[in-house]
Symmetry: C2
Subunit: 439 residues, 2 copies
Amino acid sequence: MTAYWLEHAWLGSGRLADHVLVTVDGDRLASVEPDIVAPPASATRLRGFTIPGLANCHSHAFHRALRGRTQEGRGTFWTWRDQMYAVAERLDPDSYYALARATYAEMAATGITCVGEFHYLHHDPAGHRYDDHNVMGRALIAAARDAGLRIALLDTCYLAAGIDRPAEGVQRRFSDGDIERWAQRVDDLRESYASDVVVGAAIHSVRAVPRDGIAAVARWAHTREAPLHFHLSEQLAENDGCEAAYGMSPTRLLFEAGALGPRSSAVHATHLSDADVALLGGSQTYACFCPTTERDLADGVGRSRDLQEAGARLSLGSDSHAVIDMFEEMRAVELDERLTSSTRGHWSTEELLTAATGIGHASLGFANAGTITPGAFADLVTLDASSPRTAGVRKAAELAVFAASAADVTHVVSGGRAIDSSRVGRELAKAIGPLWEDA
Amino acid sequence: MTAYWLEHAWLGSGRLADHVLVTVDGDRLASVEPDIVAPPASATRLRGFTIPGLANCHSHAFHRALRGRTQEGRGTFWTWRDQMYAVAERLDPDSYYALARATYAEMAATGITCVGEFHYLHHDPAGHRYDDHNVMGRALIAAARDAGLRIALLDTCYLAAGIDRPAEGVQRRFSDGDIERWAQRVDDLRESYASDVVVGAAIHSVRAVPRDGIAAVARWAHTREAPLHFHLSEQLAENDGCEAAYGMSPTRLLFEAGALGPRSSAVHATHLSDADVALLGGSQTYACFCPTTERDLADGVGRSRDLQEAGARLSLGSDSHAVIDMFEEMRAVELDERLTSSTRGHWSTEELLTAATGIGHASLGFANAGTITPGAFADLVTLDASSPRTAGVRKAAELAVFAASAADVTHVVSGGRAIDSSRVGRELAKAIGPLWEDA
């Protein structure tokens, strides 16, 4: 068994400990003993602050190719989407795998040990199924395994360009044509994988799936006890369109279709009424905030604290990967709420760290992860406590949430495996360059 | 003469170049030649993207001790200020020097080559002058020199706790009692220093200096052609108090007292009316935004683009040093404006990079800095273009503004001197620990 000795650790649920001897058996923690002053020589010393693995609950891996390339001119979420679609048009199973593997490697380097991949790029450029109709999903799962992360593949149902508008252009790569074909394809995928992979469902949005389709995907997920994720009210235009078509908010539509609940995650949840907040909270739906993307796409600031008070549980994602830094995501929830409220202290550091660890993993269908306890997935993320950013900060949670950056992660163990991050930059450059013909 | 060879460079004013051979004579650039494919063996190769030195235009160095220590409980700007005052009470000339030197060393490590220090901690804990009445200011200047930065010491006039309220408690350390004593002390300080130091003036705020005092400090600065900085409308309470006392906004009060103008910097400038924006723009006052602090202190989002369009010029500062990362400050101006406007593209990357370099240095009284041109201060900041964060981004300005973090700075030359950042963390821990008795 491999052994690690943690100088200082946040074990989860507010438990701090020093000099923790941890043993790993396979992908799980076998023992966790604090106050071991003289660890065995065979134990790897992890100096600094160690926290559990981070869960990145909302990812579109291929958006990583857009980083630093969409910042010219003015525009909105919708003009950004045009650029994103241009990349989506160019990908094939090989380039999709290479880009996802490099992106997941960046995640692993920053302490992310599990990713929720909201996957909708299913078919070939003409919109036809590949010979293996799940080749794109399998590429993502292989990419995550090869990069050393667990994955919840949230296979996304996407049928329409908008309410009563058929899929068009690159969206034909997203659409299975109808719910039955989507469900059959995803069931095929589920059958192929063991316990280290979760295959769940996603409803792209109330724009992209009609009302009866939403209900059908929700039934599919509930029957299989699978996670169910959906984009929700990221833009006011979605709310307006939904009101016009259905006479109700997107949240209400999803609620009436049976899509809310304790295995469901509402991604963004930015523009909500009090009634929406009550529905999400009452159903114990996760609210997956993606603050750095919501800044980048000019989405606005959602009501994170109100959601939590109502009963929803916060999780976090880096979404478009304009930034991959869960430390920035954690603090951004609090900081952006400060900007809109003019008060501080909406979230405790403990709550934010729990959102990024235990709660996040649970929202992806991995219940026994995100804590440093025997039996949990063996994820250990060590932060340098003496970098220019972190030096002088004394408490582990404050250091992680309010001082550290992704660059302060010095050592990552993910599912028992030590992550080697030495080639991440080269891998990213090699995967991204050809998509823009500047390799 | 020392020579550097820059693989890729942003020279300032939108000029990009590759394979740039640069020679340094003393603290200045002697020559800048692009397209030198075969540089002399003696030239230090700087791989990646090199940009000019960054200017941090608003700093309270001692606030660095608060990082990660003020995040408990709720509260506002004002409750944060109580914690900040608690640190201010404990400092003496030696600990002030040690903390400032470590903070400036963190800045230098992240590519900052000039700091504007808004210095108000002048006197001993009883409010009496030290034997050398400028010992605290000299400590800051020595700290900057020892850390390798240029400094504009913005010696701050602070006379009152609020409009018609005398200085109290630790504020007695800030106050010179009257304007004459402030001016005489600052003139003494100015006489001691050569061209690598700017001694300028600051008006703490319209709360801390009465109307006639504001006019007197402004006259002092104009007579000496010195930079003049002031906190402006960071909090709505300041606007309300000023309206109640003077029947006008803080901006209008400063304008009428002669404090606006092309050597003046309005720090924060968060809560402004259209008329305020017009006064700041028409007078060509710099607008110094400090976005990471404004997030941290729940200040709100200022009207950066409106100010620029009106004629004000954007500069940037890390202020309370909750974060020291000018790359994050640059993008935060754009991103936070996106959050409040729901549109993207308010600022071009070129504009943001110019704000953090050439404009910033000029606002601190260093005109020939922030560009890579012969005769300018020899500041070179090299960014890793193949880190997990930056890999795959191809354009220099986009890389600096939208992908890089402080941790991606690999090499810094400041005023001709190569910065060694290997001891920054240790220096910070040693300076901060004793202030909290956890050394």
